[in-house]
């Protein structure tokens, strides 16, 4: 898709600004403030039913609606892309209910709502990153009872998580967890970074932007203030390693980005492209050319102009 930036749309009548009623916003705002004061701790909140199903980002949408102001510029990404269903529908939802300006350019956005990626471009102090979270509890698949996981967090009892990572090593020879890779926040709370690829984990540490996490179905909000220490769990003899790729992006030639594998025919053909569409477009506009860019349709290859 070609980059787009609107300078404010006209909100549909009949909605309160950003859809939620004011009492709901206050309740969510109070949860956000406590989440910021206790980094990595999951604050319960009275999640509302939204006009989209659970699993479509209702937690992130509620957090965004609670912090959004008329002068904000919103970017929404789904697995790094601005043009996939979830991103497009959430962006349109806020255009319709709030009339705020939207953008696909990472650098222009003041609020970025994301499903499972952190943009490649470094975030700034003027930005807020809002994550859509399906399962906020990192211990949930190890201990199904909420009463127990609450106590485990209270006692800082995270031995079970290390056993899980150790079992990865015993079975596979290495830590096989590649997404939703658990992190420890400020040496206290173990936190689920949402199903972002572990490639993105290092970007959470000492990030200049405020990071907010919303889980709608599970009714939890948590946060990482800027410049917070976020460490991926590992062992001395099996240190954490971000995912590395053997390929370069077929469109922009990048070798430092997170790549998606795209099947191109039914004869085993495939290509690897940047998952962050805005970053890839920007690189092509700067003249970077990947191996397959010459064969790409004009709509994509033309972006380099």
């Amino acid at each position: 898709m070609s980059a787009l930036a609107t300078s404010g749309t006209v909100a549909a009548s009949g909605y309160n600004f950003a859809y939620l009623d004011e009492q709901t916003k206050r309740m969510i705002r109070r949860a956000i403030l406590k989440a910021i004061a206790i980094p990595g701790y999951q604050v319960p909140f009275a999640s509302r039913e939204m006009p989209m199903p659970y699993g479509w980002g209702t937690g992130g949408v509620q957090v965004t609606a609670a912090i959004l102001g008329a002068s904000d510029r919103l970017k929404v990404i789904d697995q790094g892309a601005d043009d996939t269903t979830n991103a497009v529908s959430i962006r349109k939802f806020f255009e319709k209910t709030s009339g705020v300006a939207t953008t696909t350019h990472t650098a222009e956005a003041t609020i970025i709502q994301t499903r499972h990626r952190i943009p490649e471009k470094n975030l700034t102090a003027d930005q807020v990153l809002v994550y859509q979270v399906p399962i906020p509890e990192p211990l949930r698949f190890l201990e199904p009872r909420e009463t127990e996981t609450r106590v485990m967090h209270a006692l800082e009892d995270y031995g079970l998580m290390h056993v899980k990572l150790y079992e990865d090593i015993a079975t596979h020879g290495h830590i096989a967890t590649t997404y939703a890779y658990p992190v420890k926040v400020e040496d206290r709370y173990v936190m689920d970074p949402s199903p972002t690829p572990k490639f993105d984990n290092p970007k959470m540490n000492d990030c200049a932007a405020l990071q907010l996490f919303g889980a709608g179905r599970e009714k939890r909000i948590y946060a990482l203030p800027p410049h917070t220490k976020v460490v991926s769990l590992d062992f001395d003899d099996h240190p954490f390693e971000p995912t590395k790729f053997d390929h370069a992006c077929a469109l922009c030639g990048a070798t430092h980005t997170y790549l998606d594998e795209v099947i191109t025919d039914d004869a085993g053909g495939r290509m690897f492209v940047c998952s962050d569409t805005d970053h890839c477009e920007e690189r092509r506009a700067e003249g970077h050319r990947g191996a397959l860019l010459g064969e790409a349709p004009a709509a994509i290859a033309g972006a380099a102009e």
Binding site: E22, K34, I36, K229
Partner: protein, 201 residues
């Protein structure tokens, strides 16, 4: 008794005030500008009044310190604009409004949350005189989440032993109270994670 107004534009006024408080808590030591509510009844300050109206409602019991509790207009204005119950027992307070922070009560007397639910703690809103360096009575050096390296905050109006009190509060982590400092035109915050030391002058 005629009641004064609150936000002219309740939706965006509350959002802008909240966002300033959010940024202040996310970046301890920074000053975030807030348009106060000029009509807040004295001794409630315009900025503290704006924060209370932006964040409090029927779910959040409010505690008032002695000067605020002594002014019936304050309780009536807050009750009308927020719907919050005004309570007298500090451990039940979601928010505590303090007009005279020099006489700040013991922080441990407020709700500190539990180890399992540390979020169930009081947020204190302290009306401070000023953040100007030349009139400051406390110069604080801050480290912790939200701060790159360290930050400094000059405040007029806090008790002399504020650093010891905040250290005791910080030692309770993850339990503890969070402080929002409401100045004449801006807000700063000291969440429970912030480590505070007094800078000798």
């Amino acid at each position: 008794m005629a009641l004064a107004r609150a936000f002219t534009d309740p939706v965006h006024g509350a959002q802008q005030t909240f966002r300033a408080v959010m940024n202040a808590l996310a970046r301890p030591g920074t000053l975030q500008p807030v348009d106060g509510l000029a009509e807040a009844p004295a001794p409630l300050s315009p900025v503290a009044g704006a924060i209370a109206v932006a964040l409090a409602d029927y779910e959040t019991p409010l505690w008032l310190d002695a000067p605020l509790a002594a002014a019936p207009n304050v309780a009536a204005w807050l009750a009308f604009h927020t719907g919050a119950r005004i309570i007298t027992a500090p451990p039940q307070a979601a928010f505590a409004l303090v007009a005279d922070p020099a006489a700040l009560p013991d922080l441990a007397g407020f709700a500190l949350g539990s180890d399992i639910y540390p979020d169930r703690s009081t947020t204190l809103i302290l009306q401070v005189a000023d953040f100007a360096a030349n009139t400051a009575t406390s110069r604080l050096r801050l480290t912790g989440p939200g701060i790159k390296g360290h930050a400094t905050l000059a405040v007029a109006g806090l008790p002399a032993d504020i650093a010891e009190r905040l250290a005791a509060n910080q030692a309770l982590f993850p339990r503890g109270v969070d402080l929002i400092l409401a100045g004449p035109s801006a807000v700063a915050a000291l969440p429970r994670t912030t480590r505070v030391t007094l800078v000798e002058t």
